[in-house]
Symmetry: C2
Amino acid sequence: MFSVAPNASMFVRPPMPTRSAGLPDGPLAFMGAPMRFARNAEVYGEDEPAEYLYQVISGAVRTYRMLDDGRRQVVAFYLPGDIFGVEAGDVHLSSAEAVSESQVLVAKRSAVLARAEREKQLSRQLWDLMVRELQRVQQHSFVLIKSASIELPMSRQDIADYLGLTIETVSRTFTQFVQSGLISLETSRRIQFRNRAALNRLNA
Amino acid sequence: MFSVAPNASMFVRPPMPTRSAGLPDGPLAFMGAPMRFARNAEVYGEDEPAEYLYQVISGAVRTYRMLDDGRRQVVAFYLPGDIFGVEAGDVHLSSAEAVSESQVLVAKRSAVLARAEREKQLSRQLWDLMVRELQRVQQHSFVLIKSASIELPMSRQDIADYLGLTIETVSRTFTQFVQSGLISLETSRRIQFRNRAALNRLNA
DNA sequence: CGCTGAATTGACGGACATCAAGATGTGTGG
DNA sequence: CCACACATCTTGATGTCCGTCAATTCAGCG
């Protein structure tokens, strides 16, 4: 697992600070409508016109592309607070699906961009968003959270497609981690960190 | 080589149409000064403040990051006409070096962004640039050119670090291609395509 | 319960890394 | 122009990680 993707790990960003109502802050605030998506429901599809920007309120979203050989490449996971859909030109080059039951704020792209032309600050926020998206895709990794126990929203298959490995290899790696005392698994999705330092040394 | 990076190939974009003076078109036109860089010279370094935007006039540039385990990850190659440096926030998260003797147009980022605030068209161009950069990084691949013979500016080591393989594997793959009649090598850097259709079928 | 999808585990083969030795190319100084 | 030094590239032998195929086990749910 590490010789192929030695700097990719399977961790989660800290939860986003939310405003009172539960709606997240940021460039899309007040500009869109919240929508619900069931597990595995499509948010948008490859080759569809890119008319909206999206922000995860609750749950998790994955973007992915199908490779020529039929494999699925998961490009990124988005967690509450994260904005996605910026990566698109006129049409989406990837598809987006809810990993688990999710709530997503949907804002018209044209409206956001139009307002950005009037408001310098919003324009700057969008640019920063783009930069961060680029860096996220480049690094292809998550940031570690502080808590000792996390619940993964994604399946082994999602993780495998994200790392470009098979579900079996991912599973075996988890097993190894358990055996070497680095983590323990309450359920297959619920991870307890036992030795954070050693895990980080396997380069995050 | 294909099971690890089945959709990455080592090809080159078509040369950019240039204006009379040899200076390239685009959002950076007339906004910067041309500079020369020797082979392997650093254009900018990781962690340096990102004060400039760059456009390749001649030669080739690579961006890369050093991984925690000491390996080098080549993020992208840039050829004449390509603009790079947009991927940066306040500081560069990657380094850039000339692959071969290169001429690069260097423009102050602040000046470009300031002008973009006044000129809607330029702003739009920069946004598109960002989108394309994102998609390029995501796909991590080159576009095939039409000519039957090309000169690679980058070494086997560069290619290996781009694909995440070793120099030996890259070399062996070239050898296999030659033996199966897909290409022939005048020199190690000069490639002749013999069977374009078959090469494309190995999914580009 | 039993059904179904998800996850784990095992056996095996193949692709790629590592280590090592040569071959080829390229630049530099005599 | 040649000779030497050094970098780049190629080739071989061997081990290991990961993918494939297959069989169980586990977890959630009607």
